[in-house]
Each structure stands twice: as C-alpha cells, then as structure tokens.
C-alpha cells in the first residue's frame, strides 16, 4: 500500500479536488434549499440528471452545442424548478418538512423512472467540447484538460453564489422567511416569490452541474440517484445554513475521498459517512454551522 508513487498521490489530490468541485456545486444548491427554505430537496440529484439530459437532448435534437448549453440548460432546469415550487412545494410550506422530502423523493423516482422508460437505463455518450479535448501533462502525470475546466467553472460559480448570499441581504431574508414567513411578509417582503426564485436558482445550479458532468459520465437516468446522499452528507458536515461551509466541505471531502481511493478503495464509499459521524460527534452542528 505504501508503494503508491508520489505522482499518483499528487494526481489523486487534483482529481479529488475536481470531484469535490462537483460536490460543492451540488451541495451549495442543496444547502440553500435545505437551510433556508427548509425543504429536504431529494430531487436535487434528479435535477442534476435532468441538466445532463437536457444538454444531451439539445445537442442531438436541436444541434445546440456545449457552450450555449452551459447557459440554456440551467435556465431550463431552473424553470422546471420554479414550476415545481409554485405548483407543489409552496403548498407544503409550514407543514412537517418530511412531507417536502416525501414529495421530492417521489419526484426524483418519477423523473428517474420516466427517463429510463423513455431513454433506457444504459445512458448516452456526450462528447467533450473540442476546445477542451486532450490531456494535460504535469510532469509524469496525465490529466484530461476537461477536468481542469470543471474545477475552474465550479469554483467561480460557487464563489459568486456565496458572495450573493453572504454579502447581500438576500441570505438574511431567506433565513428569516424560512423561520417565520408570515412575519417577513408582514414586513413587506413577497416571500412566496422569493422562495420560488431561490428554489429555481438552486435547482438551476444542479442543472449546471449536470452540464459539467455530461461529457465525463454517461448521460444516464440514474446518474443522480447515488450522488444525492453523498451531497446531503456534505451539506450536513459543512453545517446547515452555512453556504461557505458546504463549498469548503465539498472540496475537502472530494480530496479525502480521492485519497481513500488510493489507500483503501473499498472504503471510499463510506469515508464521507465516517467523517460525518466523527464531525457530528465533536461538533453537533457541523463544521461551520451554528447551533440553535
């Protein structure tokens, strides 16, 4: 085990960061929906899948390429989110958040089942855009160029969202609206609209991650279903309500997971859960969360 060459180890750290970037984008949206709208959005993985599929459909049926898709897909997926929030989730506000979980779980199942029904379970290939094809040699290490793009794009998006939420009043408004929507409404804020748009935006983020993922993974109906609980774990480890926490945790866990893949591959599926148990035993509200 100790015979792992240093290059491989370094490479793993980079790869881990890249996976971590995915976790960060997904958990960011989830964390906002979860921490601020009080919805356990189980459909987040399904929206990620939807993002990849819309991207693929645009390419194969409309001929729209990767770059425009990067903008169009989040809008499309976000719009779906807006409809879902408006028509369904908004009616569940104020009751036990388990019902939101049940609903989004059902939605995820239905989306996944529906896509398998229509497109089959095997999935479809999506080509890496020309500009990002090829590999980068870092010394003896070979890494695909596209992965570097993923990490750059994700980190930029994460930072932008973080600034928006933490450095503007928006975050405070959202949190307050979750706690006591009627009072915030009485203060003159259109809470339902705020909530709907936030949900749409976060779901759009998942769609964005889906576009990033399409060229790496198969565009397949089940691509989001196992990811979802990992992303949940990331959010919880980071601490509910902490946007920055979920970004940092996402990246860090990507690296931890990557290194586990070198030393004890079988453990890579549970290392995140192990970390979660340890963190929660020591810090009941996660790494960056605050206790209420």
């Amino acid at each position: 085990m100790l015979s792992v060459p240093l290059v491989v180890l370094l490479g793993q750290v980079v790869l881990g960061l890249i996976n971590g970037a995915f976790y960060a984008v997904l958990s960011l949206g989830l964390a906002i929906i979860f921490g601020m709208l009080n919805v356990i959005n189980f459909a987040h993985g399904a929206f990620y899948m939807l993002g990849a599929f819309v991207c693929w459909l645009l390419l194969t049926h409309v001929g729209l390429g990767y770059w425009p898709a990067l903008v169009v897909v989040p809008l499309v997926v976000g719009a779906v989110g807006v409809v879902v929030e408006r028509v369904f989730l908004s009616r569940l506000a104020g009751i036990d958040h388990l019902y939101g979980l049940l609903f989004t779980f059902g939605l995820a199942l239905a989306l996944e089942g529906g896509f398998i029904f229509v497109f089959g379970a095997a999935g479809n290939p999506y080509p890496v855009p020309d500009a990002l094809r090829g590999i980068v040699r870092l010394g003896p290490l070979i890494l695909p160029l596209y992965r570097f793009w993923v990490i750059t794009a994700s980190i930029i998006v994460c930072l932008a969202v973080w600034l928006l939420i933490e450095k503007t009043r928006l975050g405070a408004l959202l949190r307050a609206a979750t706690e006591n929507p009627r009072l915030v409404t009485a203060f003159g804020v259109n809470v339902p609209l705020l909530v709907t748009l936030t949900y749409g935006a976060c779901v759009g983020l998942a769609g964005f991650a889906g576009v990033l993922a399409a060229p790496i993974y198969q565009v397949s109906p089940t691509m989001g279903s196992n990811l979802i609980i990992i992303v949940f774990a990331v959010v919880v480890i980071g601490g509910l309500g902490s946007i920055g926490g979920s970004i940092v945790t996402g990246l860090a866990l990507g690296v931890i997971e990557g290194l586990t893949k070198v030393f004890y591959p079988a453990g890579s599926t549970i290392v995140i859960f192990l970390v979660m148990v340890l963190v929660l035993m020591l810090r009941p509200a996660g790494l960056f969360g605050r206790e209420t």
Binding site: P5, V7, G120, A122, Q218, P265, A266
Partner: protein, 377 residues
C-alpha cells in the same frame, strides 16, 4: 397441460437495458416461431418486473409456480434473484432458466436439478478473453475490478488463466460499485507497467470505467483495454470512439452468420434494436424448452428437464449445445474486438471476430465443479 412461461426480469431498473423488454421480446418471438402452441394448447407468456428486489422476485416466483400454472421462468437477471428463484423452482417443481445473470455459482454451489444456466457465465467470459490475449503476447495484466462477489469471481478466474498461460498480474484495484468517477483508479492503472487493463465489472459502472480509460488516454498510451463482461448495449451506450479496440468475449453476436442475421432482423423489427447474447439466449432456451415439452408430452418439470438434457440444442445460437448435469448449457464462445469508427459500416456494426472458442474449452470443466449434483455421481 399448458406450457406457461414467465419472464422474470428487470423491466424498468438499472439492468433494464441488458434484459427487460428485450428479454420479453425474445421469449415471445421464440413462442411465435415455435407455432404458438404446444401439446395442443396455446403457450402463454407472462412478464414480471422484479425491480431488483429479491422479495418481490421470490413472491412472484412462488405465486407463479404454485397458483398461476407457470411451468418455466426465464431470463432472471440479477444473480441474487437468479439463485433464489432456482431454489424456488426446485421446491415447487418448476423450471428456471438463467440468461440474464452470469454468476457461475448457479452451476456451482447453487446448482439445482431444476435450473439451467444458459447463455454465458463469468468463467467463460474471463476464460475467453484472458486466454486469447495472453496467447497473443499480452502477458502483463492490471485488473480494475468491481468490488463485489461477481467482480471478484471474474478477476479470480481471469488471473488464474493469465498466470496458467504464462502471463503475470501486475496489480489490481477494487472499485466500489457505487463509484461514478473512476479517474482515481485510472491514475493507478496508468502508473502500472501492465499492457492489459482488464475491467471486471458490469453495467453503468463498467461503462463509466471505460469512458475514463478513454478520457485518460489509456489506449493512446499503448495499453489494451479488455472487458470481462460486456453487453452489446454497453458498447452502443459508450459509442465507438470510447469503446474502440476493446477486447471481449461473448456468447453471441448478431452479425455472425445468416441465421443470426435473420433472427436479428426479426428482433430488430420488434424492438428497434439488435439482440445481444442475453436476448439470443432467452430465445434459444425458450425454443429448446418448448421442443422438450413436446418431446416429453407433458409439462412436468422432471420429465421436461430430462428431455432438455437429452436433446441437443440446435439453432442459430448454438450448434450441438448440451446441458450438463450441473445445469450448464455448453456451447461455443467468441472473442471479439470493438471496431474503430472507421472500420464500422453501420450503426450496429461494432465487433470483429478474432477467435472462436469451442464449447468444451469455453466453460469450467465438470471436474472443477463444486455442484453437489455432480459430486453425487
């Protein structure tokens, strides 16, 4: 005595592209081609979606055999389910034919007098590819193995053969089956001096592994990728650019001869896609079953099983195929290589044949079997 065939498969879940609707179509085609009736009664086909839940499969199988008059259950993708339905077939006096699952336990510790393992098994697949490549001079191997019993079996079988044939295993990495991202393992494969990177896994994770191999330039850097269990649908899902050059063993390819092409056309007309070895196995085994029922003059499981063993399997899938006492249907296997996009002339033109392995060399010899039925002899 009415023959009633149950297709128990994954219609809508993760394996539905490997079996599911294709399996149903194949069985229905076989019944049609047989004439639709046997022993003067129409042959009925029922379909069950086990959703990959052993309890659902077991309940359904029990109900089918016990009260619905199902005489034979076919396909049975998902090894846990195949093993448990084989037991139920024995208890209830039904017949189970496995085409979907590849676990060689079905003819080993889990064998029963009422079950047949038909299209392929992990041993045969590993055996074909490993033998061929080592003989071809690719002696050093690296395994990328799905970390579960099925992957371990594939790897163990293949590495034994590699070593027996004078090759060497340079290393391996076990990837958890939930892994979506295989890049970490690719780095290890890349760093290994081995010539062959063999992927011992199946389904979506297999597809993702091959994709990363391509992305990380494994083939470009002169390594050969071998798939130890590859369905035609996997190659279609990957696309030739990603799958090209891969070496694999299979029990069936539609473009082998006129008979296979004729079947493939019919199958395609019905389902819109070309059949793979599971589909062909489902067809062939159903046909063989019906012939045996006719010959036995009854649907009684023991009598039909006896006839199925007695009659040779003779159709486009297998010529002179034979069912051994451990339930293994022995037939020729084939080693293929995935064509490059340039070589391919059509959507489904993806394999070129590089070796045919005769049936008696393809499967695990009875002498190595741990099936109690064999020892009893």
């Amino acid at each position: 005595d009415q023959a009633k065939i149950g297709v128990l498969t994954d219609m809508t879940g993760q394996f539905s592209h490997e079996a599911g609707p294709g399996a149903v179509a194949a069985v229905e085609l076989a019944v049609e081609d047989f004439g639709g009736t046997v022993l003067g009664e129409p042959v009925e086909v029922v379909v069950g979606d086990h959703q990959n839940k052993p309890e659902v499969a077991a309940s359904l199988a029990q109900e089918w055999y016990e009260s619905d008059g199902v005489t034979m259950i076919n396909d049975l993708i998902n090894s846990g389910i195949a093993l448990s339905v084989a037991q139920i077939a024995e208890q209830k006096g039904g017949i189970a034919i496995v085409n979907g699952s590849g676990s060689s336990k079905l003819t080993g510790a889990g064998c029963t007098p009422n079950s047949i393992h038909y299209a392929y098994d992990t041993y045969a697949l590993a055996n074909g590819t490993a033998n061929h490549l080592v003989d071809d001079g690719h002696k050093s191997w690296f395994f990328l193995t799905a970390d579960y019993a099925f992957g371990h079996a594939l790897e163990a079988d293949a590495s034994a053969i590699v070593e027996a044939a004078g090759g060497s295993v340079e290393g391996n990495v076990l990837y958890p089956i939930e892994t979506a991202d295989h890049s970490a393992f690719m780095l290890q494969a890349q760093a290994s001096p081995a010539e062959v990177v063999a992927i011992a896994g199946s389904g979506t994770t297999f597809i993702n592994a091959v994709k990363s191999a391509q992305e990380f330039g494994l083939t470009d850097s002169g390594k050969l990728v071998a798939g130890l269990l590859v369905w035609l649908t996997d190659v279609k899902a990957l696309g030739l650019p990603a799958a090209q050059g891969m070496v694999l063993t299979n029990g069936f390819y539609w473009d082998r001869d006129d008979d296979t092409r004729a079947f493939a056309e019919k199958f395609k007309a019905k389902t819109g896609k070309m059949p793979h070895m599971g589909d062909a196995g489902n067809y062939s085994s159903t046909l063989h079953y019906l012939k045996a029922v006719e010959a036995a003059g009854t649907t009684d499981a023991d009598a039909v099983m006896a006839k199925m063993r007695e009659l040779p399997v003779e159709d486009f899938f297998a010529h002179g195929g034979k069912i051994r006492e451990d339930g293994r249907m022995v037939h020729d296997m084939y080693v293929y290589q995935v064509k490059t996009p340039a070589e391919s002339t059509g959507e489904w033109d993806v394999y070129k044949l590089i070796e045919t392995i005769p049936g008696d060399k393809a499967f695990r010899p009875l002498s190595e079997s741990d099936c109690p039925l064999v020892k009893a002899d």
